[in-house]
Symmetry: C2
C-alpha cells in the first residue's frame, strides 16, 4: 500500500485538506497535488501537512503547455512553468508532470520543437530547485490542443535531443499509452536511460462517453494494467503507482465510498491482502 | 471534382436512392456505399443505378471485425465477410474497407493475430470476386473495441505478413492517422508497395464532443488535410478523395445544404474553381 499514491483530482470535490486527511486514513503512501490545491494556500504548509499525515508528496500536476502561436504567449508559458517550479520546490514535490501542449492547426512537429525549446528554457530553474520534470505522453486523441507528444518514443526523443539531462524524464500513464505497440520496449528503454519518473494508473471504459472526464477505475476497462505494471517493475521502477482518474461519473458519487472503491481496486490489482 | 467521392453515411438521413441522385447532381465523381444501403435491395441494381447517374462505385463499407473471444464468433465474422465480398462483387465495388475489430480486454497483439488470420481466410474469395480488401487503420481511441490496427505501420505489417497479396492494401483516413509522426514515410511506403487503395477525408474538431459522431467538415478542424493530400498525391495516388463524416450535428441539418457545404469545402481545399 505504500506504493499507492492518489491524485487529488481523482476526488475533485474534496478540498486540499480533505484529500490529505482521507488519503492518509485510507492507507495510501503518497499524494500528488494539482496546482488548484495550492490556490490561496502556502505550498510549504500544504507539503508539511501532507508529510505530517504520513503521505509522501509524489508530484505536482501540472506544468507544460509550451507551444503557442505568438512569442509573447510562449513567454507567458515559460513564466508559468517557472512559478510551477517554485511551487513544487516549496511544496517539497520532487517532480512536476508536464502536459506539453499543442495548438490546433499548428503542425505537430512545430509544437514539438516549441516544447523542446520550452523545456530547455526552464530546465536550469528546475535543476536549481531540485525539481525533476516528467514529460507525460498524452493519448493521440489529445494531439489537437493538449499535447503534441503522444508516444513514449516521442518523449524519449525530446529527452535525448536535450542531452538526456538527469532532471528530465517521463511520466507514463497507462491511459495514454496502453495501445502503443512499442510500449514494452519503450518502458524498458526509458528506465534504462534513468528517466522513468512516474507511473499513473486508471482504466479505459468501453464505451467511453467523454474524451476528458470518463476514465475508469482500475478493472472497469480494457487496459492490461497488471501486464504494464509488470513491465514497469521489471524495468526496475520502484516508485509510486499513482491513481489519476478524471470521471464526472465518480465525482458525482459520495467521495468516501469512491475512495474505498479505489483502494479495493488497487488491492485487487496488486493482490494486496486486506489489512496490509 | 471527378476525384470527389462521398460516403453515404455522410448524409445518413438520406435513402440509397437520394444519395445517388443528389451526389450526382452535386457533381461528385464517386460514391462509397455502406452495407445498410443494400438492405432489402438488389446490390447489382444499386450499382447500376449509381453508374447510370454518372457515379463510380468507389468502395463498400465495411467488412472486418475479425477478432472474437470464441472460435464460433470468429467463424461468424468470416461468414459475414464472405457475404460482404459477394455484395461488393454484385454492386461492382472494386474495394471493401476493413474495420478490423478488437475485443475489450483481449490483448491487442492477439487481436492482430486473429485479424491476420481472418483476412487470410477470406482473401481467396476476394481474389476470385475481383474485390480488393483495404485495411483501415483506426485512431488509437478505437483500440478498445473497433480496431487493434491503429497505425499505417501496423497495417503494412499485416500486408507484409500475408506475403503482400495484390488484393490486400490500406485505406488511409486522415481522421485516424493525422497525428502519426511516421505518417509521411508510411504513406510513401504504402504506395511504393502498391497498396494505397483509398484516401478518406474529414476533420478533427476542437473540442471533439463525441468519440464517434463528432467529426468535422474539412476546414472545421486541425488536420493538415492539404499537406496529407499532397503526400498522398506525391506518392502516386490518383484515386478518389472520399468524404466520410460521422456527425450528429450535421445529420440534424438540412442534408441538401449540408451537401452544398461539403462540395464548397472540397473545392476550397483543392482550389477547384466554381463551375469546374
Amino acid at each position: 500500500m505504500r506504493r499507492l499514491c492518489i491524485h487529488t483530482i481523482t476526488t475533485k470535490p474534496w478540498s486540499t485538506e480533505e484529500c490529505i486527511r482521507n488519503y492518509s486514513r485510507a492507507g495510501a503512501g503518497g499524494i500528488t497535488f494539482w496546482r488548484y490545491n495550492l490556490e490561496g494556500r502556502d505550498p510549504a504548509a500544504v507539503g508539511r501537512q501532507a508529510r505530517e499525515a504520513g503521505l509522501e508528496v509524489t508530484s505536482l500536476c501540472r506544468g507544460g503547455f509550451f507551444p503557442a502561436s505568438t512569442a509573447q504567449d510562449r513567454q507567458k508559458a515559460l513564466d508559468d512553468n517557472r512559478r510551477c517550479i517554485e511551487e513544487a520546490h516549496a511544496l517539497g514535490a520532487p517532480l512536476i508532470v508536464l502536459v506539453c501542449g499543442a495548438v490546433p492547426g499548428q503542425p505537430l512537429d512545430e509544437s514539438r520543437k516549441q516544447i523542446t525549446e520550452g523545456i530547455a528554457a526552464v530546465l536550469p530553474e528546475a535543476e536549481a530547485a531540485g525539481v525533476r520534470l516528467g514529460i507525460e505522453p498524452l493519448h493521440p486523441m489529445y494531439a489537437d490542443d493538449r499535447s503534441a507528444v503522444n508516444t513514449m518514443r516521442q518523449a524519449n526523443d525530446i529527452c535525448d535531443a536535450l542531452g538526456s539531462p538527469q532532471m528530465l524524464g517521463i511520466a507514463a500513464d497507462v491511459y495514454h499509452i496502453w495501445w502503443d505497440p512499442e510500449l514494452k520496449e519503450q518502458i524498458a528503454l526509458t528506465a534504462e536511460r534513468g528517466r522513468l519518473f512516474a507511473f499513473h494508473i486508471c482504466d479505459w471504459r468501453t464505451p467511453t462517453t467523454d474524451l476528458l472526464n470518463d476514465r475508469g477505475l482500475m478493472g472497469e476497462g480494457c487496459i492490461p494494467i497488471r501486464q504494464i505494471s509488470e513491465w514497469v517493475d521489471a524495468a526496475g521502477f520502484q516508485g509510486a503507482r499513482e491513481v489519476e482518474i478524471f470521471s464526472s461519473r465518480w465525482w458525482s458519487q459520495d467521495q468516501h465510498e469512491w475512495l474505498e472503491k479505489i483502494t479495493e481496486a488497487y488491492r485487487a490489482l496488486y493482490e494486496i491482502p486486506a489489512g496490509a
